[in-house]
Symmetry: C2
Subunit: 199 residues, 2 copies
């Protein structure tokens, strides 16, 4: 939709490019930003440029960081014998929120997906294998999403790691805590039966 105000149209367009933001929301956001003071608008613009400029991948785990090595890899209290392998940086945050995992991470930055032309070489798999060479790591936890691509990636990587004599584990499948059995799908229910534990 044309406002016939070029700078406003351009700003709306920028917001429309963001995921989950439709035309109406983009307009709303653009008008909100127009209501900012000059100082606030400058700050917003600056934050975008700064984030883009300063954030890059940790040279060990490939997670995002503004340092040479990320805070987790550099953490003195982290258990260096366990690596949790995830698809992307958001997953690291999800695990960190549990406050229960004390090991290290490795971010693949994607999943194997032949349909989308993503092969193993596009992921950070060699970086993971290199980390396993020093003998300090005793367990690799495959924590990719429980989707076809996630499973395939997890399977592919575990086949590479197992010959190195390192334990490879996968996240447990089952019913979500606080969930309702009625709404659980058949596969999930079956997997939660298979994985049942003594109480």
């Amino acid at each position: 939709m044309a406002y016939q105000i070029a700078p406003l149209d351009r700003l709306v367009e920028q917001f429309e490019r963001l995921p989950g933001i439709g035309q109406k929301s983009a307009q709303r956001l653009a008008f909100h930003v127009l209501g900012y003071s000059e100082e606030q608008a400058k700050q917003f613009a600056q934050c975008i440029l700064e984030a883009k400029e300063k954030i890059h991948r940790c040279e060990i785990c490939q997670n995002l960081t503004d340092q040479k090595v990320c805070a987790i890899c550099a953490g003195p209290k982290r258990d260096r014998s366990t690596i949790c392998v995830v698809q992307d940086p958001k997953d690291v945050m999800a695990f960190e929120r549990t406050r229960e995992y004390g090991g290290l991470y490795h971010v693949l930055h994607g999943l194997i997906s032949p349909m989308d032309g993503v092969g193993p070489d596009s992921l950070c798999i060699k970086e993971l294998l290199m980390r396993l060479n020093d003998g300090e790591v005793t367990e690799v936890i495959m924590a990719t999403n429980p989707t076809v691509e996630g499973e395939a990636t997890s399977m592919y990587i575990s086949r590479l790691i197992k010959p190195m004599g390192i334990r490879v584990t996968r996240l447990a499948y089952g019913i979500p805590v606080g969930g309702n059995l009625e709404y659980a799908d058949e596969v999930t229910l079956y997997r939660s039966l298979l994985g049942r534990n003594e109480i």
Copy 2:
């Protein structure tokens, strides 16, 4: 939530300030922007600054524009005898989308709302009255939202204009086109009865 990556946290914070964007969405948007090329990020930042810098109020109708006078006020084909009074620039766009209204607008930039400390003096009412002095305008359409504040504002302004011998009208109330009578509230149904027309 701390990512322990200051530039990322700051960017997430900026997105969280936007209306309708919660913590999770803000994170998603920030990660999306991190995936931009340097060029794209620069463009986004530039659009924010440019919009803020170049867009201001039209000196006649108070709508937003990057010119001295907005495209509607400057339009040679516009009917200068009618002014449609709206709360804010988004409402102008809503009317323009109908492609049926050919008159001018006046944007109040707010509604009278004593509870929020907004009195008539905070709105662009004097600018409206000044436009009515030249005798060219014969009708003022009050098109504020059908809320308590909208009604009060519309009533207040119409009392100022009527003594000038200018016709003041209000948008019709009634059932929305394509709506369902079952879901219409009582007041709307009553107003649509009151305003019924010959067919």
